[in-house]
Amino acid sequence: MRRNPLCQPADHRLSRRQWLGTTAGGLAAGGLAGIATPAVAEQLRRKNKQVLFVWIDGGMSQLESWDPKPNTIFGGPFRAIPTSIPGVHLSETLPQCAKIMDKLTLVRSVSTQDNSHSAGVARIQRGDPKNRGVVYPFFGSAVAKWLGAGDSGLPPYIWVKPGSGGFIDKDAGFLGPKYGALALGDGKPPENLIRPASLSETDDRERNRLRKLADTRYSSQRRSANTKANSFAFEMAEQLQKRMELFDETKVSDKDRDRYGRHEFGRHMLMARRLLEAGVTFVKVTSYGWDTHGDHFNAVANLHPKFDQSFAAIIQDLADRGMLHSTLVIALSEFGRTPRINGHLGRDHWPEAWSIVMAGCGLKAGVVIGKTNETGTDVATEPYDIGHLFHTWFHALGIDTAEHEYRNGGQPLPLAHEDMHPIREALA
């Protein structure tokens, strides 16, 4: 069925004023942790689960990464190398990941629906549920909703991305803007976060005291929702300022910089580790430029080593810090790439058979799930769609998709595609 990209019924659109009005009070009192449905969230939050979501924008070729088919018709020029799990081979473009294969959970039987970019990003990140005429949240917003912000004093969903930053509320879909992503453009703090030296802390405190006094006087005989929402925005700014050390580059060792790589993706993955260490619930890192319709193999030789280096480094660091057992790591793209090599020595979009790699929290380590046929054109075992993966991830985080559902106004909505189920072989 063709999807309707415009289907965003305003009947279900949460009014900004509504959510700010009804929740700002609670948030102001409870800090940023006040996000989620009470009982469930309380229970879940105590487990302190976290997520690292690595988004490879475009398509990563499964044949040059997780599912190599050397010496076959579509195999391409790269070899396969052994990994820390006997019998499991990865492409030679991922030597560092091969060494930590024992920590990874690989699904080689992913088969999804859409091969166009315009729809792909949102479809995959929203889990492609059945069309209910509402816009589903991205996984980051969903996790922000179910797990909350924890005690970090930081927003639950932070997105490290190239380019510009800001608060991206469209990720949240029907959950409403507060579950959106705080995007750190190029891993940098939000613009204007740092108090200029010309303004002393005393004066800053004094002027904010006077601001609050003015607001109290103003709102004493008026509707108070907007004033509360405004206070909340100032409080969020204040909370973030307290965590300035996160953005202090001098706190990062040269050794770590070298291990992660001094390229953009490496810097962003290192930032992600610091955010996870600081307790952020959901960290997304995006890498752009994975669309190798032409000159694919040279592009791979450039792209994959950067991914390999920083992805292996962060898995190792999370393991060393004892964080991997409570942090779910996912790396995926919009689709895989065609086995057939086109006339421009490129590979096109291939959702039919590709791979996704995961690690950590609640997952079996060192396993490979499913396989493709000999030439990699199709899935040879049970195919898993993105809906199966959403079920799996929720379960790994301790959120039973059979037990919990969203409530959008009065409308009950399943967390993930109701015709699909978790991938049992992946769950510990």
């Binding site: 900004r16 970019h117 010309s198 002027r207 601001r211 003015a214 907007n226």
Partner: protein, 528 residues
């Protein structure tokens, strides 16, 4: 035709009652208020008293000059005891030099939703509102411009911007269709593209597809200013619901309107003036669905258009549509005051879509002039009753201009651009609600543009305050400059206390703290 045979003087006589109408218009504001008062009574909701002169002053300046008043303007109005002072101020501002630009900004934000901007588009809107061209004419010109017409060329931007290709994506004709429906008919048909709307029975797939057929052959002509071209429409569009899969056909048609016939021209015979690839001139079609849209949509008989128009102007001044959300007009989402909506629609037609008349009329109502203070003994007032003035979002443009005026600086495009960056919504997201954001707060807290305005410079607010020895005078100047009102005794006491706490050398900084605290306060940040 018959009229041709009547002598001219008789025509004048026949037309006379129509000419009398503007005289009766004095009654229209009170008629509007009757609807509001009646409904409030039914709901048992007490009305807020009229706003103080200061609250009213700030409101009309923001609405019709796009900024708060200067200290001098505030002092002059607050000293005026003429019983007609409010009406006089309304007329002065609406007939004044800043009105065109203030309205253009408001309409630009509503129509372009931060998709982009173009100087000729701004110029077109500003001139149109300043010259008070009828609203139906403005909409007609936005949807179609005669070839080589300098006066309306900028109006093409509304469609041209939406006909741009973004990256590798094809032109978003569906988005364009949805926007025309939302912005000019008050109907968001977006969800009826692939099937009848699932929740709104009134919105049919045929409505979306019929509207789509007006625009599907338009394209961007990349000139400066950008123009809109149109390929010949030679057949009806086919579509099928994703549920029933039954194939249907439609020519261009407004929702619930009459479908246009698609004439059958021989290939090569579709143009009156063929396109000229050299000059990039798109040519003139014999059958132009775009031109037809520009005629049919803003017709007085198109009730969707007229209702949507008055509803959006009402929203502009009252902070909430009679139909709300603005783009969800359908039978199960009726207006809060249905008779009022029809009354306004009739009146707007009768006054030939005269926007200044409508603005002056609405601004004269008690509904507009009511205080945002709740009536005593009441904790809340339902927004849709309009019994207490609503707080309204200041556009980044209004905020930038007001900050500059308050702090004694000249407003500048550079400053406005910074405010837009910090306070505007994402593209395609209407700026209809108050939306305090992290980026906005951080901008007010730390941006150098704000902090530098708080440094004393000859003639600016801090400088003026520094020169005032008397604390009460400092407080008065401070409150008049930022909040367009005099301070309460309590507020004077706070100013005095703060100034006393620190040594004289700290005085510029203490004054900056005081000024900033009001600048960052909710009272400054909204139109209340």
């Amino acid at each position: 035709m018959i009229l041709r045979f009547f002598p001219r003087w008789l025509l004048v006589l026949v037309a006379f009652p129509v000419l009398l109408l503007p005289v009766c218009a004095a009654d229209v504001p009170s008629q509007i208020d009757q609807f509001i008062v009646e409904r409030a009574k039914q709901a048992g909701q007490p009305l807020s008293p009229l706003a103080s002169d200061a609250e009213f002053l700030r409101r009309v300046f923001l609405d019709f000059a796009g900024r708060i008043p200067t200290v001098a303007e505030a002092r002059a109005f607050l000293a005026d005891s003429s019983p007609k002072r409010r009406e006089q101020l309304i007329d002065r501002l609406i007939d004044g030099p800043e009105y065109g630009s203030a309205m253009a900004t408001a309409m630009h934000i509503a129509l372009m939703e931060r998709l982009g901007d173009h100087p000729l588009w701004t110029k077109y809107l500003t001139t149109s509102f300043a010259e008070n061209r009828p609203w139906n004419q403005i909409v007609r010109e936005i949807l179609w411009q005669p070839p080589d017409d300098e006066k309306t060329a900028g109006a093409a931007f509304f469609l041209a911007k939406r006909l741009e290709k973004i990256g590798q994506n094809p032109v978003d004709y569906s988005g364009l269709t949805r926007d025309v429906g939302r912005l000019f008919l008050g109907k968001n048909l977006g969800c009826a593209e692939c099937h009848d709307h699932l929740f709104i029975d009134d919105y049919k797939q045929a409505h979306f597809q019929g509207l789509h057929a007006f625009f599907k052959n338009s394209y961007l002509v990349n000139l400066n200013p950008p123009q809109v071209g149109e390929k010949p429409t030679t057949q009806k569009s086919t579509f099928a619901s994703v549920f029933t899969k039954i194939e249907m056909m439609t020519g261009p048609a407004l929702p619930g309107g009459i479908m246009l016939d698609v004439p059958n021209f021989k290939p090569g015979d579709e143009y009156l003036v063929p396109p000229n690839p050299k000059s990039k001139s798109p040519g003139v079609l014999k059958f132009s669905p775009l031109k037809a849209a520009s005629e049919q949509i803003p017709m007085p008989t198109n009730r969707d258009f007229v209702r949507n128009s008055v509803n959006r102007f009402w929203f502009l001044l009252m902070g909430r549509g009679l139909v709300h959300p603005l783009d969800l007009s359908h039978s199960r989402n009726p207006a809060s005051h249905p008779e009022l909506l029809e009354f306004l629609a009739d009146q707007f037609i009768e006054h030939h879509f005269d926007v200044k008349w409508l603005m002056k009329t609405l601004a004269r109502t008690d509904a507009y002039q009511r205080s945002s203070l709740l009536p005593s003994g009441v904790d809340d007032a339902p927004e849709k009753l309009f019994t207490t003035a609503l707080e309204r979002r200041l556009s980044p443009e209004q905020l930038a201009a007001s900050v500059a005026i308050a702090l004694g600086e000249q407003p500048s495009p550079a400053l406005t651009a910074k405010f837009i960056k910090a306070f505007a919504n994402q593209p395609r997201e209407p700026e209809e609600e108050i939306n305090p954001s992290l980026s906005g707060s951080l901008f007010i807290l730390h941006d150098s543009a704000i902090l530098s305005l708080l440094q004393p410079k000859p003639g600016n607010l801090i400088d003026r305050l520094q020169k005032l020895a008397d604390t009460a005078k400092v407080a008065e100047e401070l409150y008049l400059a930022l909040l367009s009102r005099t301070p309460s005794p309590e507020e004077i006491a706070t100013v005095a206390e703060v100034l006393l706490q620190r040594s004289a050398t700290d005085r510029p900084q203490v004054l900056a703290n005081l000024v900033w605290s009001l600048l960052a306060s909710m009272e400054f940040r909204v139109n209340h």
